[in-house]
């Protein structure tokens, strides 16, 4: 077990310079505002006293290093500033809205994997065949579609034309009552309180936005699955396994696919980046009350503290996810785990 702990620790420490860079960039962004930042953070129609007050709070009259130290101190206390729109601390706003985003993103990932992996595997197994061309066209087209357009198309087809999906107005029907909150995942909460009507409603509202997000991820996932499978299928040990007459399903799944999943896992980080970015837009299309739409509302309202807080929080999350993926890879790939 010791080598694993070392790996985790070492990876966390290696991630520190990057995390530091992220904080520096976030800090610079707040100070890059054209004109007087205090005016921006004070909101609409500020009084001169409010501006002066804010300038003192933000330490704008002090030298930059001191400002940075103060900023760092605030961050370590979990203080991301205060939102103008809601009046709450930004961190609190983000944590309240985060479960909605998480439910959406996790569902999207599951959907994307369900589509991408079979497609990628089928394409690799029958290279240059009909299914391979379909797989490649699907992945390239999915890569070329902006998420906002995908979302709108889905709404048009399934809500307007076919009438099978509910209106894109959030997680539940406007008149619906949300189930008591335990996890923040509406579907899970509905199941926990046996509110089947709410569960169905929440699921119905979840499908289209999750699909729109999933399509964003299908592009890179299909491609990497296909290329990883192709590489593995032409490797020596697969040829050897054929010589021993292994049953075909075992060869494909237990031998080839498992080895191919390793490169797919390393791509997972990039896919997450796509998804987090796509989240912002998809949440707007479907009025999904997550952190993405929070950031957009803040942008529109020139609520700079909220926007910058969002950027920093999301970047930190992304860095942590990448670290987690690296560690997971180290566990799954036996050679790394056992120190080969």
């Amino acid at each position: 077990m010791a080598p694993l702990l070392w790996t985790i620790l070492r990876r966390l420490v290696l991630g520190l310079p990057t995390l530091f860079g992220v904080v520096v960039v976030s800090f610079s962004l707040t100070r890059l505002l054209p004109g007087d930042p205090a005016v921006y953070f004070a909101g609409a129609a500020p009084t001169p006293e409010a501006i002066a007050d804010l300038r003192r709070t933000l330490l704008l009259d002090r030298p930059l290093p001191q400002q940075f130290a103060a900023y760092l101190g605030d961050l370590l206390h979990g203080d991301l500033g205060r939102s103008l729109v809601t009046g709450q601390p930004v961190l609190q706003d983000l944590s309240t809205r985060f479960p909605a985003t998480l439910e959406l993103t996790l569902t999207a990932i599951a959907l994307a994997l369900l589509i991408a992996i079979p497609l990628g595997v089928a394409g690799a197994m029958r290279k240059r065949s009909g299914i391979d061309h379909i797989a490649r066209m699907v992945s390239t087209t999915a890569l070329s579609m902006p998420s906002f357009f995908t979302g709108l198309l889905l709404v048009f087809v399934f809500y307007y034309l076919l009438g099978v999906a509910p209106a894109p107005l959030g997680r539940l029907a406007p008149m619906g009552f949300p189930p008591p909150e335990h996890t923040g995942f509406m579907i899970v909460d509905a199941i926990l309180s046996r509110d089947w009507a709410a569960c169905r409603d929440a699921a119905a509202h979840l499908v289209l936005p999750a699909l729109a997000l999933a399509i964003a991820a299908v592009g890179p996932l299909t491609r990497v699955t296909r290329s990883a499978m192709l590489a593995v299928l032409s490797s020596d040990f697969i040829r050897a396994a054929r010589a021993y007459d292994l049953p075909r399903w075992k060869l494909v799944y237990a031998y080839a696919l498992r080895n191919a999943m390793l490169p797919v896992l390393t791509t997972a980080g990039v896919v997450f980046s796509f998804l987090i970015s796509a989240n912002v837009v998809v949440e707007k299309v479907f009025s999904w009350p997550g952190i993405g739409s929070y950031a957009l509302e803040a942008l529109v309202a020139s609520d700079y503290a909220a926007v910058q807080g969002f950027v920093l929080a999301v970047a930190t999350l992304y860095v942590l996810i990448n670290i987690a993926i690296d560690i997971l890879y180290g566990i799954v790939d036996v050679r790394v785990r056992l120190g080969g």
């Binding site: 490797s235 020596d236 040990f237 040829r239 050897a240 396994a241 054929r242 010589a243 021993y244 007459d245 292994l246 075909r248 075992k250 237990a254 031998y255 498992r258 080895n259 390793l262 790939d333 036996v334 050679r335 056992l338 080969g340």
Partner: protein
């Protein structure tokens, strides 16, 4: 038991068509140990893959066939209508094993859980190694696992493609001894594919010499080592380093393997041959017996 009858194989590639095998003929009887010897790039591996059915799907058989107990079999295993009890072990033992699966599990995948321990014992591997992964084992141990996997298929013909290249001399001797013993005890025929002529001479009953996709000579070991008739075989024998010799005494075979994509002469050794005569370029030499069980493909063999 196994007959390769004038097999010719081409590979289409970007550079052109690689004429990998040209009218190759070979026969293996039950229990025989046959050596297939030639330089790197002579087509030995292509022939071995064709027999064990692991050839690349882009390969085209343009002439001849392979027969297993009289029934024709194709170069791609999964498409064969007759199942041939042929199995292969490979040049890079560690790369031929699934890197993220314990070796014991790999053996049980082929043979079933019950036979794992006996199989590992039969290749002189401690059954406790079943829990290990390939990267934790030495090259020799990985090759033993490979042999165990091969034996699990109860083969009648084992193709050993450069099984000891890359292993140290002591391990090489141990592995070769293991193969020879298993061959004897199970009545299993073996095709030993190697560039190492002395190794083949030490362990085989018969040796077939291959050059640029053509079989040039096939003879019992004694006949070949003492009275090789094909100029190339003689050169190969002469090139073997001797114990008492110095580096200056090393014999070098002149010329290089011809490019298999370019147009080729009927006898592909002609450009390197000391015995070349004008009539060598007229038509391809056929494998014909010069003595009982001693075949060569040459119009002007050595005496």
């Amino acid at each position: 038991m196994l007959v390769v009858d004038r097999l010719s194989v081409h590979f289409p590639t970007r550079r052109g068509i690689v004429q990998a095998l040209d009218r190759v003929s070979l026969a293996i009887e039950p229990g025989e140990i046959v050596g297939l010897v030639g330089e790197s790039g002579s087509g030995k591996s292509v022939l071995s893959y064709a027999i064990s059915g692991l050839l690349d799907p882009s390969a085209r058989v343009i002439g001849g066939e392979i027969r297993w107990r009289g029934a024709p079999i194709g170069p791609i295993r999964e498409r064969r209508t007759t199942r041939a009890a042929v199995v292969q072990i490979f040049q890079n033992p560690r790369a031929s094993l699934n890197p993220i699966r314990a070796v014991g599990r790999q053996v049980s995948d082929v043979a079933g859980q019950d036979r794992v321990a006996p199989l590992l014992e039969s290749v002189r591997l401690d059954p406790s190694k079943a829990r290990n992964y390939p990267f934790e084992l030495s090259g020799g141990q990985c090759q033993r696992v490979g042999i165990a996997l091969a034996l699990a298929c109860e083969p009648e013909l084992l193709i050993a493609d450069e099984p000891t290249t890359g292993l140290d001399v002591i391990t090489e001797a141990a592995i070769m001894q293991l193969i020879a013993e298993l061959s004897r005890s199970r009545g299993m025929a073996t095709l030993l594919v190697t560039h190492n002529l002395p190794l083949a001479a030490a362990h085989c009953h018969r040796i077939a010499v291959m050059h640029a996709g053509q079989i040039v000579e096939s003879a019992p070991v004694a006949a070949l080592t003492q009275s090789a008739r094909h100029p190339y075989s003689a050169e190969l024998l002469a090139a073997t380093p001797q114990h008492a010799a110095t580096p200056d005494d090393l014999h070098v075979i002149q010329g290089q393997l011809p490019d298999l994509v370019a147009p080729l002469l009927p006898c592909r050794y002609a450009t390197r041959c000391r015995n070349r005569r004008p009539d060598c370029d007229l038509s391809p030499p056929e494998l014909a017996p010069v003595a009982s069980d001693h075949l060569i493909a040459c119009r002007h063999p050595l005496c």
